[in-house]
Amino acid sequence: MADVCYDEATCIYAGADRPAVDALNLDIKDGEFVVLVGPSGSGKSTALRMLAGLEEIDAGSIRIGGRDMVGVPSRDRDIAMVFQNYALYPNKTVAENMGFSLKMHGVSKEERQRRVREAARLLDLEPLLGRKPKHLSGGQRQRVAMGRAIVREPQVFCMDEPLSNLDAKLRVQTRTQIAALQRRLGVTTVYVTHDQVEAMTMGDRVAVLRDGRLQQFATPGELYDRPVNLFVAGFIGSPAMNQLNVDVDAGALRVGETVVPLSAAQATAVAGLSRVTLGVRPEHLSVGGGELKLQVDLVEELGSDSYVYGHLVAEPDTSLVARAGRGRFRMGETVGIGFDPGQLHLFHPDSGERLGP
């Protein structure tokens, strides 16, 4: 087990006009579960593959346990990887798949069998040890791929969207299993996903990437409560945070005809600006009581509660979503909504950077 450090790590694909990963800095502690998340093309998979030794580190460095990995081939990095398509060896049985790396490292047959059985017990794979991958279900293949990684007891686990080939229910179930297994084994893990729910539920810390650049590296709670820019604010959370461009008027915000007061710190942060982007999470909009008038366009009933989608009567080209109790609102009706001033996020209208606390 070891810590992992990305130090200005950069990867440039031949012929590309910008780096796939651009001067990435991440300090991952020993035993930590870090999730790299971002939309497609954000460089998250490339960043992981650089750690695994499957992509070149063109500038900067990546250190595992303090050892520089530039120029070190994958097989000498003591890393195990779980691939999106599992990449199980089709001609080998489950046991042979799991034991292959031990065999490559010259581990004796008895020791190999012992460790494979141990990992198989951990993952409920014991009855399947003699089967070939083609005779396994998707979930079982996923577990074999996990087993192949853990049987090696490596310094670092790399996981590249390991759940994306599973159906929704199995994904949720496996998600918790992987997180629990990682806590139990205590192996430093870097996990790539495009699913922000996976990122939020599994990671000790989450790194949000966009266009090869790190946006924010923080705990799930901090990402949610204090996104550093509009991209993170919009990416984390479902449904996404509401964003409204509003006028600043004497230390307060003017939304349509309504004035939203700001705290002293917020007022200082917006000083000198005439407009800001206001961000509000759907659950921080109170529906039913408030000065702003919302025309309801759509109501999504989720069972436990509902989401009300609509636009401000005063500004028809806005689009807002608010969480409400179930069954209270109908399409087409006009309802009042209110802000909780303590739960507002303010962003610079041009750069999108967070303003104030």
Binding site: L54, S74, R75, M81, Y86, A87, L88, Y89, F100, M104
Partner: protein, 295 residues
Amino acid sequence: MAATDTLAAPPRAATRPTPAIRRRRRPGIGNVVWGVVAWLVGILFFFPVLWMVLSSFKTEAAAYTNVPQFVFSPTLAEYRHVFSSGVGSYFLNSAIATVVSVVAVLLLGTPAAFALSLRPIKKTSDALFFFLSTKMLPIVAAIIPLFVAAEAVHMLDNVWTLVILYTAMNLPIAVWMMRSFLLEVPSELLEAAEMDGARLWRSLREVILPVVSPGLAATALICAIFAWNEFFFAVNITAARAATVPVFLVGFISSQGLYWAQLAAAATIATLPVVLAGWVAQRQLVRGLSFGAIK
């Protein structure tokens, strides 16, 4: 049981005569016509082979009857004739030329195909086109330089000359075929093997080759058929010592006149190895390529 029936009955009655289902049950007239055409074409193609095999079991007189005989008393006399005329050495030459050239083609072509598929570079497509372009020159145009060259190194009428020529002849086909099979292999398999600590040679042997073994079998079969049936090189640069089975067959015609039954027997014997090779390779050929490696 009764309960299920009553439950199922009303909807069935309501939506009863659905033409779509009926059509699916009974093959349409179009399908029947195509079926007949397919059988006719199949029989048309197979008939000469069948006739060859039938004739090989006839006596020379029976093979010549003007109204062809389908019912006759079979005899092995013509096979005995063929075997006593020294077909063995021709078979041996053909076997050496075929087996050695196929092994050489696979040993040379698979690494090339691997490099061109899993580790492509900028000039990969140029290299592939170059391989193919060597097949564009008519063999007739190459035979004189080949003959002169073989004569200069004293390798005329030598089975190893055929081995070299057949290897060169089949190499482009093998590279193209193996490349298309290797392209089907997910690159993650190789990456997984590397992360597991395997060096390239080990990954190739233990991970990649087992996955592409059906492709190897198909490539070997095609190359073996081409080498076994090759006539032009064999007839031009071999004489008594290194001649192969196709040359032997032709010799049969010219030296003995037209003996149909005997020729049919010889041709049947010449065909058998290819049919056998196809039959053996079939099991490998029908296996799926990436069986469960990826979703």
